[in-house]
Symmetry: C2
Subunit: 467 residues, 2 copies
């Protein structure tokens, strides 16, 4: 493709994206494609010669877009908010166009420095502890691809600290024990498994009726393991669980962990970003007691996936766990300690210039736009909760202080399951099924950038009409 063809096609694609986002509401939220349909509609073998642009655009219209679940649809109430925004899309374009690698400071100084600066900006905007700031001397932040990776980095840092670094030589993880509730995200178990902590050494700490971790149960579990000669090393406190949006009480868990020298990680992937609104800063209560913390602008801030923010207060443990320095990656800049090499803050070596997404979103749309979006979603959720409460066929099964509402039919589990299936089959909106305390539940997550009152009202109509 020539530069001039790129100019022409690029303009066309910009228009197509704007049109897609402006009209996505007119599509069903989910695809009607059955397994194998998309592949069957495309060429089974690669072309031997270049194809014309219209051939791709035709496949895009005919196969790809109809084969999508539309996460940017205003009636997308499934999983978690995954809103992107126009500035974020432009930043991703710029990232691709510059095509630089940010594995070390020296491999593109601006990539590292803008990223560190964006983490400091976000520390301010979220009101996070000073000890997470790059300038603290002991802590700092980095963009991870996902909260799963942030969790794994936290686990590895904790593993290094609990073993005094010997794990890097011995690989012996057999006495380490980790703690979370049954409501913690699946990435906690996955991260622990990857790091060599199997299910035999993962304690499911009891939760209360709000699905929040019980501090007494945590202390008891840790002390029992200590008495058995094991090494409690990692606690995950979730701020906004995936299933129901529960908040573990970090303010109470923190001292328990600190007294017993256990790493405390706060997973606020889905809801920590609400702290952009000052009146919602309580979502991060207790984080000053944590060794590490993550939250996702790629969920509820209009910054497209992938952009998870990970902060730690213990840079030494992080670098002990993850840094390896072969000859071909040595640089003078890093050896002076003046700048970080962010490859040592993550699992992969390579890294894209993802900080541009934050930089564009914060500067172009501005923090007030995120705040008003979050507040709008909260208002819509509370309005929906009111309607649900007034209808005695439904039951709200968990606290809903933010943008996630969990409900079931009072008629029972089988009825609830059938109802969820019917509601989702309509294509008019999409919800997620989960299980709380053994019972199936429908989750309504209100977080798309363009979701307005009328979309929530329509969803409520749908939910009532599909009983």
């Amino acid at each position: 493709m020539t530069p001039d063809e790129f100019r022409a096609r690029g303009r066309e694609l910009i228009d197509r994206i704007a049109e897609y986002l402006e009209t996505v509401e007119q599509r069903p939220v989910t695809s009607s494609a059955a397994p194998g349909d998309v592949r069957a509609a495309l060429a089974e073998h690669p072309p031997t010669a270049p194809e014309p642009w219209p051939a791709l655009m035709d496949d895009l219209d005919r196969v790809i877009v109809p084969g999508l679940t539309h996460w940017q649809h205003p009636s997308f109430f499934a999983y978690f908010p995954a809103n992107t925004s126009y500035p974020s899309i432009l930043a991703d374009l710029l990232t691709a166009g510059l095509g630089v690698q940010g594995m070390s400071w020296a491999t593109s100084p601006a990539c590292t420095e803008v990223e560190v600066l964006m983490l400091d900006w976000m520390q301010e905007l979220l009101g996070l502890p000073e000890r997470f700031r790059s300038t603290s001397g002991t802590g700092g932040g980095v963009i991870q691809g996902s909260a799963s990776e942030a969790t794994l980095v936290a686990i590895l840092s904790a593993r290094w600290r609990a073993t005094g670094g010997t794990v890097n030589a011995t690989g012996d993880t057999t006495r380490l024990v980790a703690y979370a509730t049954s409501q913690a995200h699946s990435s906690i178990e996955k991260g622990l498994r990857i790091a060599g902590i199997g299910t035999d050494r993962i304690r499911t700490v009891a939760h209360d009726e709000s699905f929040a971790m019980r501090p007494d149960a945590l202390a008891e579990a840790i002390d029992a393991d200590l008495a058995a000669g094991l090494v409690p090393f990692f606690v995950c406190s979730t701020h906004g669980t995936t299933s129901s949006g529960a908040f573990d009480p970090t303010l109470e868990l923190g001292p328990i962990c600190r007294d017993r020298d256990v790493w405390l990680h706060v997973d606020a992937a889905m809801m920590g970003i609400a702290a952009l609104a000052p009146e919602l800063r309580w979502v991060n209560d207790g984080v000053e007691l944590a060794d590490s913390y993550c939250t996702n602008p790629h969920k509820w801030m209009g910054v497209g996936f992938d952009c998870d923010l990970y902060w730690t207060a213990d840079r030494v443990a992080l670098l002990g766990a993850l840094s390896i320095l072969p000859e071909y990656l040595r640089t003078t800049a890093a050896e002076t300690g003046a700048v970080p090499d962010l490859r040592d803050w993550q699992i992969p070596l390579g890294r894209r210039f993802r900080a541009l997404k934050l930089w564009f979103a914060i500067r172009l749309d501005g923090v007030e736009s995120f705040r008003s979006m979050i507040r709008r979603h909260l208002g819509l959720t509370q309005e929906l909760a009111g309607w649900v409460r007034a209808d005695d066929r439904f039951e709200i099964v968990a606290p809903h202080p933010l943008n996630l509402l969990c409900l079931r039919l009072v008629e029972g589990d089988a009825a609830t399951d059938a109802w969820i299936e019917r509601a989702n089959a309509s294509g008019g909106a999409l919800f997620t099924r989960t299980v709380l305390d053994g019972h199936p539940v429908l989750r309504v997550s209100i977080g798309a950038r363009t979701t307005e009152a009328r979309h929530v009202a329509a969803a409520w109509d749908l939910l009532r009409s599909t009983i």
Copy 2:
């Protein structure tokens, strides 16, 4: 930002990217920024109100672009090829614009199906074994963010298989032993460390004078560990080492691993893609004996980072190692087994629609364009090698069958080090220093999309004039 503003700014950004790539040659390859310069030139605190677009573009021109190492520069001879292309940039734009999540088939069917199809296309284009194909029933492929992640996935699959899956419960990795040469990429040690295999259990297998693994040394090391009651579980055979481009002899290593039931991973991240040219398919010799394999279109195929291709012949071990199924991720489609949920093929949960990059590049630029680029780079490398051989001040220190040439000054190590520093300080080209057999070496990696004979000739002038 309104849709119309997005249209206008998007067009402007497309033009800026075209102009950047057309004129990047006029810039020094590296930035003159000292640590801290970039940050100091930007606002230390986040803005409280939205800023106008020109303010960002001004910072882009004034601070960001001058703060980059230009990986797309035709005189970039450092690290590894990292060429992108116009179709790939457009595909990244589309990925950002659609804003979908491909963690499960159900979360966007087209995202999963196009990806699986692209892996099958690439299996054909590279001439890889049928058993890596999605249709093989036992194997399959997936896009990973980086070869580091592919390596970790291979290690975890091997760990699961060697322990009969018990590692998921016990976390006991203490008897597992892994094997690679000193020339293997640092991500091998990092991946092993993450998976709970420390340096005490990583054997550095001797290499021959071409820096390739010695099969006799591998067999001997494995047998010694077996005799000691340990569990050899993972061998990494590199096809194109980072430092010198050496090829471990997989055809000879394969039977050794198979006889002893050890997982064989082939890391062809940097050079496996050369097999796009049929006459270079030898780069993957022996891969039919491997349990897993990876190579990077984001290095030498004009597909922008992040796009590593990972194939395994043992899907059962992969899923055993990585799948976890919480209630909120259950889907009917996946439970029928008709389609894969690619979250179980990788470390993170979330995933972007990265297959579009391959789809755009293969269909728009076409495979012949990649072949001719690779052949051009090979020709330029051999031409440079001829010039070096004819000048008795230089010594070529490793075989150079592809696009990587390693040389030193015959005068000695101190002179070589000083020379590398002077050459890179010029800004006219960028090379990487490495160490081979204890001696510093300058690597010339010829792989940028726009590198022509004149750029290599200028690099040679630079290397001679900075002695």
